[in-house]
Each structure stands twice: as C-alpha cells, then as structure tokens.
C-alpha cells in the first residue's frame, strides 16, 4: 500500500488536507483529533471524494493520479469500507447485507462462520446488538476480497469487552486473509496497541509516521507529544554538549541524551512520558540509572486510573506522573506528601 495525496477541500470550508504517507504493514492506524481529516482521507482512498491533485495507489493498483488523469470510480476500486455507524442496509437481512456486494453467494457461509454469526441470517439490523452489527459490516466489506480494508473509528461505539473482541477479529482477518487495513482512531491506547504503523494526523497534515513505540516515546513535536498523552513538556536552552549527553537549562539543569542538530545556546523543548518519571524510595540507596535529574516536590492531586494512578507533582517542574497501582501502594503515597522523583536521562526526549 502506498498513498500520497494532496488536496484542497475548499468548496465551503477552508480546510486543506495535505497527506502523504505510505505503509507496507498489515495494519496502519490514522491517529489524530477529530477534524484532522482522517475520515476525509478514507473517503479519498475509497473514491467518495476527489482530491485536487496527488496520487493514490493500493496494492500496486493506481486508484487516483492527477498527473496521469486517473480517477477510478468507487465501484472499480477494491476497497472494503466499514463506516463509523456501520451503515447497514436497514431493509435487508443479515445475509442480504453481507452478500450485497457479491454476484454469487458462495462465500456467505464462510463469512457467517468466520464471524460466528450462524443463526442470525434472517435477522434485520435493528434486531442485532452493536457488536453484531459491526461484524455484519466487517463481513460485508471483507466478502468482496478487497485490496484494503478501511475502518472508520471501529472502536468508538463499543464497550470494553467488545473492543477486545474486535481486536481479536481484526487480527484474525489479518492472519487468515492477509488484507492490509487502515483504521482511524482518536484513542491513544487503541492507536498504540493496534498499529503496526502509526500515522499521526493533525489539522489535515501528517505530523509523524512510525512504529507506535517510536511515536509515543519520541514525538516529533509538541502537538504529537500532547496527542500521545505527554503533558510534561518544557522549554530550555542547550548549555553544554558532551560526548553522550547534553545539558539543558530549564528551570533547573537537566541531563538529556545526545541529540544532533543543536548547538550551544539553541532553544530546545524536551518532554518525558508520565509513566517514565520514577518516584524514589527513600529507604533504599539510589541505583545508578535513577541518579540523574533528581527533584523533590509535593503531590498536589491524585487521580486513580484503574490499574494505575496519576499524580500531579509540584516542584521545580510541575509534572504528571503515572505510577502502577502496586508501586503506589508500596510507596504509601498520598496527597500533600513530599517525594523525590528522577527524570531518567534515557527517558528524556528533546525536539525543537
């Protein structure tokens, strides 16, 4: 899969979408806030919206190329599009919905058993649960053996158990049919856990493409960092550049790993993931790894997040700290307590 396009959607709004990305992986995730142009991108790939210029190719088939004047109609593109609201045909039964795109019905049985929907053939969409409706929509898109599956916010309307099931279903589709998928989400956790390739969108632009780990640990800029759930972002000035590390002057001096492209005196922005901030145990000697960048301060607020806690730390740097529940309990943390934290050098990521 290899997509590149630029287009102006300037009929009524001034929205400009300039997207350019390619992916060979099995599951690519378009991640970004609402209004970033994610759905528009899927529409363009499916041929429901015509870009002004650019090129769209899937699986070696060119769907759109403004220079060569190619613009396949949606019917000729082999795209399995699963809409956000599933868009099932309300007047058709489950089996009529699934086999809608077929000429012969031979694959229907396979789809019904693949999605464990036997016995529901004669039901109408309004007699199905949300999860079942979604599986009908998946089956209906999958049955035409598409070049690519496009899924618009597939997780958004599901409860936790159904999300897990959908993840398994998507992995099953991948392993059995090997169809590349492009899915949209605005949820950082879904983006992180599902993606082989993560494509971060914002205001109609691709901000960053990479492995989810890369994007989440090494965001390219402040916007991506915030999308990735990092609020610990600080400005500073490069004080000294050493062999393996740099010294940054913010409110305090900070040691960070060496980064290229900076000179002494340059302004720099750095960040650290909330789950990378280490809360120190006062009864134990410091290990070497946590001896860098030590600061003390007060916990001013605690928010339980299920398996972990979010601490708001006030000190030289005001930090958000995410700490696993077991560590939280072992450290006897509470509101108002003074703690020491370490901003591990290796966890600090800088950008301009």
């Amino acid at each position: 899969m290899d997509i590149e396009k630029t287009f102006l959607h300037a009929k009524k709004s001034q929205f400009v979408l300039k997207a350019c990305f390619s992916s060979n992986n099995e599951l690519a995730v378009l991640f970004g806030p609402s209004g970033a142009g994610k759905t528009l991108t899927l529409h363009a790939i499916a041929g429901l919206v015509k870009p002004d210029k650019g090129r769209i190719a899937v699986n070696g088939n060119t769907y759109f190329d403004s220079q060569r004047n190619i613009n396949l109609c949606p019917q000729k593109r082999r795209v399995g599009y699963v809409f956000q609201n599933y868009a099932l045909f309300p007047h058709l039964t489950v089996e009529e919905n699934i086999s809608f795109g077929l000429k012969k019905h031979e694959a229907l049985k396979e789809m019904l058993s693949f999605f464990e929907m036997e016995g529901l053939e004669k039901r109408y969409p309004n007699q199905l649960s949300g999860g079942q409706q979604q599986r009908v929509a998946l089956a209906r898109a999958l049955i035409i053996k598409p070049d690519i599956m496009l899924l618009d916010e597939p997780f958004s309307a599901l409860d936790h158990a159904m999300r897990m099931r959908l993840r398994l279903d998507l992995k099953k589709i991948q392993s059995k049919y090997g169809i590349p998928m492009l899915l949209i989400t605005h949820d950082p956790i879904e983006a992180y856990t599902m993606a082989d390739t993560l494509i971060v969108y914002s205001y109609g632009r691709v901000e960053q493409i990479g492995l989810p780990k890369e994007v989440f640990n090494k965001p390219k800029n402040r916007g991506v960092a915030i999308l990735a759930g990092i609020n610990n972002i600080f400005k500073g000035i490069v004080l000294d550049i050493g062999e393996e590390e740099v010294l940054i002057q913010s409110h305090e001096k900070i040691v960070a790993p060496k980064i290229s492209g900076f000179e002494m005196g340059d302004e720099i922005t750095w960040c650290i993931r909330p789950d990378q901030v280490m809360v120190l145990r006062e009864d134990k000697p410091l290990g070497k790894a946590v001896s860098e960048n030590l600061f003390s301060g007060k916990i001013i607020e605690i928010i339980p997040k299920g398996m972990s806690y979010l601490l708001f730390f006030e000190g030289v740097f005001n930090l958000e700290i995410e700490i696993p529940a077991h560590a939280f309990e072992r450290l006897n943390l509470e509101k108002g307590k003074t703690i020491r934290v370490s901003l591990k050098k290796s966890a600090i990521h800088a950008f301009d």
Partner: protein, 218 residues
C-alpha cells in the same frame, strides 16, 4: 345517469399519476442527490403551481401549449393536432398541478435516506442506478407512495387548470369536478348530489386501499 365524467376522471387521474410518479421521482432524486446549475430555479418553477391559482396555471398552459401557443404552434404545424380541448389536456393540467406534491414529498423521503448507505453500495461495486434500485428507492418507498397518493387525489380534484386548457366539452373533457360545477350552475342538485357522492366514495376507497398497501409492506 351519464357516467362519462367518472370514467374520464379516473382515466385522466391514473394516467397523470403514473406519469407524475415516474418523472416526479426522477426529478426528486436529482434534486436530492445532485448539484447542477439552475437547481434553485427549477425548484421554484416546480413549486409554482402550488401557489398560483389553478386558473393562472391553466392560462400559462394555454400560452404554452394552445394552438397558437409558444410550443403548441410548432406541434400544430408539424402534426396538425393541438392538445387544447382534448382529454390529453386534462392529463397535462393534472400532471402540472400534482407534480409539486410528488416532488416535494419524494425529495424529502429520498433526502432522509442516509447517504452513507449509498456510499457503501458504491464501494461494494454497485452502480448509481443499481444503488437507486436496491437501496434508495426501497428505503424511501413510503414517502414516494405517499406522494403518489396525494398526487392522485390532487389530479382527481383538478378543476381550474383543466377548465382553462381542456375546456368543458360534454362527452369529451367534462371531468367529475367540472360536471359537478355544471350541474350546480344549472340548478340540477339531484345530479350534483349523485356525482359528489360517487366522487367522494371513489376517493375514500382509493385512499383507504393505498394506506393499507403502505402499512402492509415495509
């Protein structure tokens, strides 16, 4: 009693309604799903007979389609035939006055069909025509049928425009409403009563059957 007006009214209404149903649905679909230059103008033009007095609409029909009318004179010079004062003129009048009902209602029904359903059908390889048959029309069927029924009712009761362009020729263009008007003008209230009762009964029967039809199916 002369049953010709009843026969003529039913014939004119059915032919006019069939025409309105097909053409009206097509126009409604285009209005609902396409953008084209002059769309607003066309919309206004179609709705005009709804607000104009029927006699004015009828007068325009004479101006357009009469023997010496703007279009009618060409038809007359080519074929030697003019639509004025024929039963076909009654059909024409009924079509024009009932078209706004059909288009307004069918358009609303088509617009209420989720456009994403049509997009899905496109991605599943169905042409626009196939999508119309398999998705859009089945889902807007109720509204379209309602439009057909109202159009039929309007065609059955058509008086003013019909009188203008088709005239009142006994045994040729005197539809029920015109025959009733005649009877009352001549003071023949017995005949008027009979005609009114028949027309009322026929209308009730048709509306009842159509309602049954609409409710019976999805």
């Amino acid at each position: 009693m002369d049953l010709f007006p009843l026969y003529l009214t039913i014939k004119v209404s059915i032919i006019a309604t069939l025409f309105v149903a097909v053409v009206g649905t097509a126009i409604a679909y285009l209005m609902a799903r396409r953008d084209f230059p002059g769309k607003n103008f066309l919309d206004t033009l179609i709705l005009l007979p709804l607000v104009l007095p029927p006699t004015v609409t009828g007068y325009y029909l004479i101006v357009l389609f009469g023997k010496t009318g703007i279009i009618g004179k060409y038809i007359y010079s080519f074929t030697g035939w003019s639509i004025a004062f024929t039963w076909q003129a009654a059909v024409l009048a009924s079509v024009i006055v009932s078209m706004p009902f059909m288009i307004k209602i069918a358009r609303a029904a088509i617009e209420s069909v989720d456009i994403e359903l049509e997009k899905v059908a496109f991605t599943l390889g169905k042409s626009e025509w196939k999508t119309l048959q398999l998705v859009t029309l089945p889902l807007s069927k109720k509204g379209i049928l309602a439009g057909v029924v109202l159009s039929f009712a309007r065609a059955t009761g058509e008086f003013g425009a019909t009188l203008m362009i088709a005239g009142n020729i006994p045994g040729k263009t005197n539809t029920m409403p015109i025959a009733i008007y005649d009877a009352v003008s001549a003071g023949e209230f017995g005949t008027a009563n009979q005609l009114v009762l028949i027309l009322t009964f026929v209308c009730i029967l048709i509306l009842y059957l159509t309602n049954r039809l609409i409710q019976g199916r999805w």
